[in-house]
């Protein structure tokens, strides 16, 4: 058991490395599975950017329920790298737990980087409950990249209720937003009525 924890310490150090070494450490931690969940959760909430990012990915892959709680907590982190990765990792639990309410609840209060990641994560869920909250966030989005992501997601979600809101951005000062408005409206027009 001691050697296992020695290895755990070495793997944690390796999470600070770049590229292949970090990737190998992540794969090994995923293999170790449930036994490393609690210590990883402790470390994840530290302020080391790279380690927390790497651990949030590992916890998403291990998929233990305790990981879920830690990732929900990490969603509210002020470290956008951690909160964004937590959002992405949480999407891996979608088959076990209804993740959508967690993501929608934190959306208004997290930083814009995490909002962007949550928006892209919502594309995968294809859940119409996200449509109205996203419409609301679109009206408030100051970043053109976030507006693009939300409009793109609303198009993919396919609920025509979003069309009038999307149309109000047809003359957006950002040309990419205008492109995505056209694309999303086309998608909504060709989507079956929900």
């Amino acid at each position: 058991m001691t050697s296992q924890w020695d290895e755990f310490g070495q793997l944690l150090d390796a999470l600070n490395a770049d590229g292949t070494e970090r990737f190998k450490a992540q794969r090994r931690l995923i293999e170790m599975g449930e036994i490393v969940v609690e210590p990883l959760l402790d470390v994840m909430l530290s302020n080391n950017y790279r380690k927390t990012w790497a651990i949030a990915q590992v916890l998403g892959e291990i998929g233990d329920r305790r990981c879920l709680q830690g990732l929900v907590l990490a969603l509210r982190s002020e470290n956008p790298l951690l909160s964004s990765t937590a959002a992405k990792s949480l999407s891996k639990f979608q088959n076990q737990v209804d993740i959508l309410p967690y993501l929608l609840e934190v959306f208004p209060s997290v930083d814009v980087i995490t909002q962007q990641t949550i928006t892209l994560t919502l594309q995968q869920f294809r859940d119409s409950r996200a449509v109205k909250p996203l419409m609301e966030q679109l009206r408030q989005a100051k970043s053109p990249v976030l507006r693009c992501a939300i409009i793109q997601t609303l198009g993919i979600l396919g609920d025509s209720i979003a069309a009038p809101t999307i149309r109000t951005f047809a003359n957006d000062p950002d040309h990419h937003v205008r492109e995505w408005v056209i694309e999303a409206l086309d998608q909504l027009q060709s989507s079956p009525t929900p």
Binding site: D18, G19, T20, Y49, R50, W53, Q57, P80, L81, S84, T85, K88, V112, I113, Q116, T117, L120, S143, P144, V145, L146, C148, A149, Q152, H175, H176, E179, W180, I182, E183
Partner: protein
């Protein structure tokens, strides 16, 4: 390995600049990261850097000189003969990818930047793979 590589990013969107800064400094472990919000006097400003970039990441619609014209300036300068130039674009238009290829970019990465996939994209580009992830 991108450990120690020198990156230059030209981007007018503040959110994308912030994300890239985090990715390159905290995840990729770049040797140096320079981020320019505008493209004026581009070559002159790049020459003043302590390290010439190994990677130049270009937003296409940056001002006053757009990404296509910046690429032309870079390709015309032998000092950048080994520099990989990657487009970073939020464009929805599939025709843009064809244009990026025709103009001679070494690849393209879609915005918004993805924390999970970006590091491996950079490693693959550095290993010589051509990435058109738009």
């Amino acid at each position: 390995m991108s450990h120690g590589a020198h990156f230059l990013y030209v981007e007018d969107d503040s959110l994308s600049r912030e994300v890239m800064q985090i990715l390159l400094n905290e995840v990729i472990d770049a040797g140096s990261v320079t981020i320019l919000p505008t493209s004026d006097n581009f070559i002159e400003r790049v020459r003043q850097l302590e390290h010439l970039p190994d990677f130049i990441l270009l937003d296409i619609y940056v001002e006053p000189v757009n990404g296509y014209d910046l690429l032309t300036q870079i390709r015309a300068d032998s000092d950048f003969a080994h520099t990989k130039v990657i487009a970073v674009t939020a464009s929805v238009m599939s025709t843009e990818v064809a244009l990026l290829k025709a103009k001679g970019f070494d690849g393209a990465i879609a915005k918004p930047l993805d924390f999970a996939t970006f590091p491996s994209l950079i490693h693959r580009i550095e290993a010589g793979e051509v990435i058109w992830q738009v």
